[in-house]
Subunit: 584 residues, 2 copies
């Protein structure tokens, strides 16, 4: 036995006990003939005391300990004279009687403290040291707890966790696949799953009724802060259900997590919003509902005043920022610069301030009278002291710009607190997306998503207007998951493939197993998938999903700690019947 | 809502309720103006009744239902006149009032019954139909339950489930890696993990203290019935532990599973046996302890009787088969043929029968007197009516042959019951294995396994004799898991690499990240991994791990249902900077 207790558990009621602890030296300091060592393990920090007077040899040994040495200490638990109320173990200390150095340590390249002095690159390279920092480790503890609670919730509801294969078949539709050459089948390749979508549908055909899996998925896409080449999904599917059943079960799951993990109870049903409304009122399919500032359209109010910018615009609309009439010229200029940035691309920003008497003052006073502006204010529900921020231009683009402006104002006004959560279901997504470049429709979700029954007649006549039984869960502007009710009718599925431009041969080549399976009796089914990485990040209040992943990859898809990927031996490639073929 | 209840839950106390069920038509039969349909879902089977007299249209519709049609039925729960005691729902039936066909079905290529008429190949191709059979689905339900109980047990003990990456670095040591070309790093490859061994050790260096993960692992090896290219491990690691701590925790886990899943309580500690004893007494490092027949060595007893076969043999030994003196000439000939099969390779079989009076009769009466044979009997502890089966030859080979003979006799005597479980820890494995072909030592477990402290002085002088802190859990002759206490001392690790023939450069190239990590303070640590597929197979009483895997691959590594692996588009290969390079 290396230890009798952990570094996190000793309290006043242990005083007098002889204990053995093991862990890492967090820091040590000498003070008046005593040496104090903070000993750290996963569970906490306990103070050790070495006394020069009573045991000089032992104290000398302790004085030689460096940061991050691994040691084992035996001693007696004693009440501290000066207590540290910041530590759960801060009322006691261990009077050391024996010390064993289990492992020495070189000086770490950065400090192992909550606030580290290490940059991102060095912390990625020495990730095993970064993981010693309790702020990082706690994210992974949270991840463990959340995954466990998800399993507990779904198990209670008769969901079966079924492992689907990682070595599957490549399908050209969708994102790029990672592929794996097969040695036993030379010239052929497996693909790593982008999601177990078709496999979980097969499980429904098999009668599994309620499936889930917390599962690694893979997409060979260019990376961003919230994307990793491998990521983890909570993947779920149910049979004999309609959209309402799926939403209820998984709203329940998210509520369960909030309650168990964050102690937050949601007593009301989550807000629901159609995709059309989300786009119209928030310019986004994942609006941040922690705050209001719903878009107000006003094209009709602005016409006929010779203000060409508005008159020539397809769309004129804005938001009302409460209490912001005090914004200075400089602040308004900043906002103007913000919306004019190339990635937002607005041409300019019109404002109207309402002073404490409700008197308007705007950047377009030349075109609109105070009465006109007051009418605008009425439509926005503006009160004295409020500020209207108005953009104009093509509808889609301007709504997106207004969305960014709204989020910026939300941040400036402190309305996007990380400990406030505003869950939302976005429903009624369009079934198709039109792609200008290839001049064809793509499935917005995937080719198995069912259209709304009432929109089926529009499939051929007004394809772009067909709405899907598809839904996303959005919290605080982040899409955490989404899914759909699937097509379970072979004829409708054929129709869908045709609209997506698949020949029958292509459809069979790629999805033959699923199309065939349906012939033997498919139940109505649907489901969804949550991104576990994003869910944990949200619960942990992190900006990037990287910090809730033990060993993440960088933006070039490299694991700089392992130095992967790497070059293979020629013999290994030969055995796999492949060759490296450098691009010119 | 597609249903108010499942097909497994209605009982007498529901009589009179109006219900809606949905599921698959298991079978239907007409009898005296009535049509009876067995409706199946994951939860059970419920009988539906359609009455020609009361509703002819509905009954006609029911008569058109084929097997495996997916239907929805509304009706009233009624007590059955002729009850079926084999079904939990056998006391009731549903008098149907409405019937909706949700999906028709073609005739399945094999019957969806517990005893199917489908061969292995067709059932693999139509795996989604095979999974409808409750005997197959129950294995996956068991798998779900076992994985959940493992998580529950380990979570209680403060183990954290940490996901380690699937895209890692290839290491030439060990089995063949599956590799993944990196598009973003042309010419370089990731490898899929054969196990998260080094990553879990890094987590110990990070202070995670107790780690586990139920995780997919990959080995590109030729396949057998109990091997799949992708398999699932329960992977575990602990810090500040000795071998005893690890054995206790995981013996507890296996006991927990037996109790929760099979209702079997083991009140005694599991048997432990050194590897040396296992080889000596059972000729195997994974002896089946459901029965005795321990090997008895008798070279000394047989010498000097001019029986050249024994006199020239390095090893003479046998087993005592209780009550088998009645074995006929034909049965003994069968056993002789059995041991002479090429894969076993014994030259012949010597037997001694002890009749009801204890009088011996043997195949070597010419060389040994009745008194000699009685002395043999004494050493074996043979009783009247017992049969000795004796082999001779080179020690290692003969023990292995005797092991096969012992298992065969165990099977013949019905001593290998699938519902009896005999767990065993095999301990003190050798640290190294000598390979004749390459004339070097290999790590029996892996290069991070620690030698027993008392054997460290032998590392250079008697390398092959060094025992490891390594252990396997064996149940009923199947190795379910194994692990070791790791080396956490850099000097000892260097020594180990040297003995394994690594240059310093090679060691750094392959394991540099681990070697470097240790420099910053590594705790003593150790762990193990269980094969989940094997564990579930054992609990389910299956002969092959395939039946507890939802979508297994065949012996050529193919998923015949998905038709994977498959050929990629030329453009896909180009983007990955690789080319297929056919062997000549």
């Amino acid at each position: 036995m290396y230890r009798t207790n952990t570094c996190g558990e000793l309290r006043l009621n242990h005083v007098g006990q002889k204990v053995t602890l093991a862990g890492w030296v967090q820091r040590s300091r000498k003070m008046g003939g005593m040496t104090f060592v903070d000993l750290r393990d996963r569970y906490g920090i306990t103070q050790l005391v070495f006394n020069q007077e009573t045991d000089a040899d032992l104290c000398d040994k302790a004085n030689k300990l460096g940061r991050e040495y691994v040691i084992q200490v035996t001693g007696t638990v004693t009440e501290r004279s000066s207590k540290n109320t910041n530590l759960p173990t801060g009322e006691i200390e261990i009077i050391a009687e024996n010390l064993v150095v289990l492992h020495t340590a070189e000086t770490p390249p950065f400090t192992i403290e909550d606030e580290s002095d290490g940059g991102d690159d060095i912390r990625m390279q020495y990730r095993y040291l970064d993981l010693r920092r309790s702020v990082v480790r706690r994210n992974l503890e949270l991840r463990h707890k959340m995954a466990f609670e998800v399993r507990r919730y779904l198990d209670e509801l008769n969901f079966l966790e079924v492992e689907t294969p990682v070595l599957i078949k490549s399908t050209p539709e969708g994102a790029r696949d990672f592929v794996v050459p097969s040695r036993m089948n030379p010239g052929e390749f497996y693909a790593l799953p982008q999601s177990p979508q078709t496999l979980k549908q097969l499980l429904m055909v098999s009668g599994f009724d309620r499936y889930f899996q917390i599962v690694k998925c893979f997409r060979d896409e260019d990376l961003r802060a919230d994307r990793q080449p491998e990521f983890t999904q909570i993947d779920c599917e149910m049979s004999f259900v309609e959209q309402e059943d799926v939403l209820n079960i998984f709203e329940g799951m998210i509520k369960h997590l909030f309650k168990k993990i964050r102690g937050i109870e949601f007593n009301e049903p989550f807000l629901r919003m159609t995709w059309a409304d989300a786009m119209k009122y928030y310019g986004s399919d994942k609006p941040d509902m922690r705050f209001g500032m719903k878009f107000v359209e006003m094209k009709d109010l602005t016409e006929g005043h010779n203000f060409v910018v508005f008159d020539s615009a397809e769309y004129v609309g804005g938001i009302c920022a409460e209490g912001c009439a005090t914004y200075t010229r400089k602040q308004l200029d900043e906002l103007t610069e913000f919306v004019k940035r190339p990635q937002i691309g607005a041409k300019g920003l019109v404002y109207v301030r309402f002073d404490e008497n409700g008197t308007p003052k705007s950047s377009v006073d030349k075109f609109y009278s105070a009465d006109d502006l007051k009418k605008w204010g009425e439509r926005f529900g503006a009160k004295p002291g409020d500020l209207l921020l108005i953009l104009a231009g093509p509808a889609m683009k301007t709504r997106k710009a207004l969305c960014e402006l709204r989020l910026e104002m939300g941040s400036r006004l402190g309305l996007r607190d990380k400990d406030t959560f505003a869950p939302l279901w976005v429903i009624d997504f369009p079934l198709f997306e039109w792609d200008e470049e290839t001049q064809r429709f793509y499935a917005m979700h995937h080719p198995f998503t069912s259209p709304k029954a009432e929109d089926i007649p529009l499939l051929d006549s007004d394809t772009g207007a067909v709405r899907a039984n598809a839904y996303d869960m959005v919290i605080n502007g982040v899409e955490l998951g989404g899914g759909s009710i699937r097509i379970h009718d072979s004829e409708l599925q054929d129709h869908m493939f045709r609209l997506l431009g698949f020949t029958e041969e292509q459809a069979l080549d790629q999805f033959g197993f699923l199309i065939n399976a349906f012939k033997y009796g498919a139940p109505p089914h649907g489901g969804l998938a949550f991104g576990l990485d994003r869910l944990v990040s949200m619960f942990a209040g992190l900006d990037s999903i990287r910090d809730c992943i033990a060993f993440p990859k960088n933006n070039s898809g490299r694991d700089v700690m392992l130095n992967a990927p790497s070059v293979l031996a020629e013999s290994q490639l030969e055995e796999l019947c492949i060759k490296v073929n450098p691009k010119n």
